[in-house]
Amino acid sequence: MIASAIAAGFVATLVMTTILRGASELGLTRADLPLLLGTAVSDNRRRARALGYVFHFVFGIGFALAYVAFFHVVGRGGWMVGALLGALHAVFDATVLVNVVLPVVHPRIGTPETAANEIALVEPPGFLLMNYGRNSFLVALVAHLVYGALVGLIARP
């Protein structure tokens, strides 16, 4: 079960990353999760982005394990339940995670209270990621729906 959850997490994160990157290339959003995550530990752009991808996949697999655990607790799984979880996950990410949790643990992310004086700051995502473009939340929602559906599909309880 754990192995299938890990595999599902990897595949779903890969697809989600592709969707996010594709939306970025289409000009729909400036959200760049690997850069956002990686700059928490490095101010070297190249290293930050590489580490960010590692974190992204680790988190993606971690969340997949949590999804599968949830499937077992409620006794239901499948792509629809996964997609529903994905939607909740997107709302959590776009509100609490990036605006409350991330500024606490991320030394280089801007907030409305900070100013770029001495160290460089990464532009804060804003409510529902709106700072990164009006369509950012929509893109994140679609990406998370697909992520959840894939986890549900691949890692059935």
């Binding site: 290339e25 000009g27 801007g110 770029a116 460089a120």
Partner: protein, 615 residues
């Protein structure tokens, strides 16, 4: 000759004529990915983000009202002088007012390991004396002014966003910025010794990085050091050293660092005729420029840059070989469809075009440039791998098949095709170099005999069909009675005896029929386009080179002196010049002019042209 770039001109800037300044009032700053034009009055009127060929965010040079700009100047009447900091592409503008003097340093910084923005433009102010009120206004207009922007704030920094683009202006001691009518603006007063800083930060498909003051200043210092070190490593000597070094620095700014390709110029649609339609997009890499560029890079000791350009070149042409396109995008792609933008154009010169329709043309001279490039590269003791050599072999076979056909020629005429003499000669160059490369073992030699045969046939054609006994000159087109400045290239590509009757006769004919004062028209014939044009500065420098190579060094040196005085106050040239007013015309600055300048300086310095060894 040593150029004094400091304060050669001293101009009162109080009124812009219709929102525009003369093209010669601009200086170029850049970071190897994009470049900005800074006017003498402190306004940045052209900047494309994130790359040279991206849409502009400041485009006031092609539409003063809608294009967008980043103005920074004293809030009271002033005069201004400018220079590049010695050996750098960092611009220093000194504003003098009745109340004091302020210096502004403008640079696009190079990235470091302190979380740099994707692109960063630093404008550092320092009051030298007195107490000077300063005003700045940043008016971003994304996508050539076609996209509306969302204006907001991030961590106290004003930010404009549009689609995948974002731009912010961080400021320190430069007043309280506020949004007004889609522009960020503020005023401040600087007293002697006081500094202020503006940092334009931009992002594309990623979150903005809001830089810290110390990091931005550190990047500015590192950028100055980088340019100084780069300049000091250039093998530049002789009487034209300053001019050559400034040209080298300008050319370096036009090389797109990620791929090694170079733009013909960093601008689009600066007119060849004020109010006219000859307005083209030069933000692409022309194959014909590359042999000049690689030659210049090798001469200047820029071996890494030469290697990058050569391999970019091979990668780009591999997609289309044996047909070689006239120009390619900076990423090596061949598609650059030409479109017109709903902008007013520089001083009403419409249309403003993006993309370049010349990509569809057949221009046979580019094959000569391609093989000359390969020969120069190989002569520099770089090896050409077997696959690339095979590609060259197929292209040489292709030239044997097509050289008898007419083409659009080096000047990309739109009423052709014709049998241009220059194109035929460049096909000869291609086959001559192909045979030499085959002899050197760089290209498969099984068709070398055919290449030599066809090269001889081309030479016979040129000597009989493209020679006019009446003019005592080669002609522009086979059978015509016109001359063309491109014929000055013949001694430069080692066609014929540079001191022989035919070459010297041709140089004399071009000098007699096309030179006006110290500058040269490219031709005086119809080309299928309405309107006039100025004299081409690259042709003027080719005349210097041709004169020097034919042994008339004093005449060449005198002309070079006069052309050197045609540079603007910071040592840059546009594509063309009005022979009467001296006003710059066409895209600015143009790589080919600076490449021709370097070649002319080398010819005058009598440096042995080939072979060269690369250590």
């Amino acid at each position: 000759m040593t150029l004094d770039y400091t304060g050669r001109r001293y101009t009162q800037y109080d009124v812009r004529s219709g929102g525009y300044v003369p093209i010669e009032e601009y200086a170029l700053i850049g970071d190897g990915r994009t470049a900005a034009l800074v006017a003498g009055d402190g306004s940045i009127d052209w900047l494309c983000l994130p790359n040279f060929d991206s849409p502009s965010v400041f485009g006031a040079i092609v539409d003063a009202e809608r294009g967008g700009q980043f103005a920074l100047r004293p809030a009271i009447p002033f005069t201004a002088t400018r220079r590049y900091l010695p050996g750098t592409n960092v611009l220093e503008t000194t504003f003098t007012t009745d109340r004091g003097v302020v210096q502004v340093i403008d640079a696009m910084t190079l990235p470091d390991d302190r979380l740099p923005p994707m692109r960063e433009l630093v404008r550092s102010m320092e009051a030298i004396s007195g107490r000077v009120p300063m005003a700045w206004r940043c008016m971003p207009r994304f996508d050539y002014g076609r996209m509306s922007a969302r204006c907001g704030w991030r961590s106290g920094v004003p930010v404009a966003t549009s689609g995948a683009d974002a731009l912010g202006v961080a400021s320190w001691n430069a007043g309280m910025p506020a949004w007004r009518d889609g522009a960020i603006e503020a005023t401040c007063e600087l007293t002697a010794g006081e500094r202020a800083l503006l940092v334009l930060t931009s992002a594309f498909t990623e979150p903005l990085i809001l830089p810290g003051r110390a990091a931005a200043m550190a990047r500015l210092d590192a950028t100055i050091r980088f340019w100084q070190q780069w300049s000091s490593a250039r093998g530049c000597e002789g009487p034209w050293c300053d001019l050559v070094l400034r040209s080298a620095l300008a050319l370096k700014l036009m090389i797109f660092a990620p791929s090694g390709a170079s733009v013909a110029a960093p601008t689009t649609s600066l007119p060849e005729d004020i109010g006219g339609q000859r307005n083209w997009d030069y933000r692409f890499c022309w194959i014909r420029d590359s042999n000049f560029m690689i030659d210049a890079l090798l001469r200047l000791g820029c071996y890494d840059e030469a290697r990058s350009l050569f391999w970019w070149f091979m990668q780009a042409t591999a997609l289309t070989e044996p047909v070689v396109h006239v120009l390619y995008r900076l990423d090596g792609g061949p598609g650059v469809p030409e479109r017109e933008l709903p902008l007013d154009g520089y001083r009403g010169s419409r249309p403003v075009r993006i993309g370049n329709g010349a990509v569809e043309q057949q221009q046979h001279d580019i094959y000569g440039g391609l093989f000359e490039t390969a020969w120069l590269y190989s002569s520099g003791h770089h090896r050409i791998d077997a696959d690339t050599g095979a590609v060259f072999g197929r292209i040489a076979d292709h030239i044997c098949d097509i050289w008898r056909r007419p083409d659009s020629g080096i000047w990309e005429v739109r009423n052709g095709p014709f049998h241009f003499t220059h194109s035929k000669v460049m096909c000869w160059v291609a086959l001559d170099r192909a045979a030499r490369l085959a002899d050197a073992g760089e290209v498969p030699n099984r068709h070398a005999a055919r290449w030599r045969r066809e090269a001889d046939a081309i030479r016979a054609y040129v000597e009989t069909e493209c020679w006019s006994a009446d003019l005592c000159s080669y002609t522009r087109i086979a059978g015509s009675r016109d001359v063309d400045a491109s014929l000055l290239m013949l001694p430069l590509v080692e066609y014929g005896d540079p001191a022989g009757d035919r070459i010297t006769g041709t140089i004399d004919a071009v000098d007699r029929l096309l030179r006006r004062g110290d500058v040269v028209y490219r031709y005086r014939a119809t080309d299928g386009l309405p309107g006039g044009e100025g004299c081409f500065l690259n042709c003027s420098f080719w005349l210097v080179s041709a004169l020097a190579r034919s042994g008339r060094v004093d005449q060449a040196a005198a002309l070079m002196e006069r052309l050197a005085a045609r540079a603007n106050d910071v040592g840059l040239y546009s594509e063309e010049i009005d022979p009467h007013s001296g006003a710059f015309l066409g895209n600015f600055p143009q790589a080919l002019v600076h490449l021709a300048l370097i070649d002319a300086a080398v010819a005058l310095s009598a440096t042995p042209r080939r072979p060269r060894r690369v250590s």
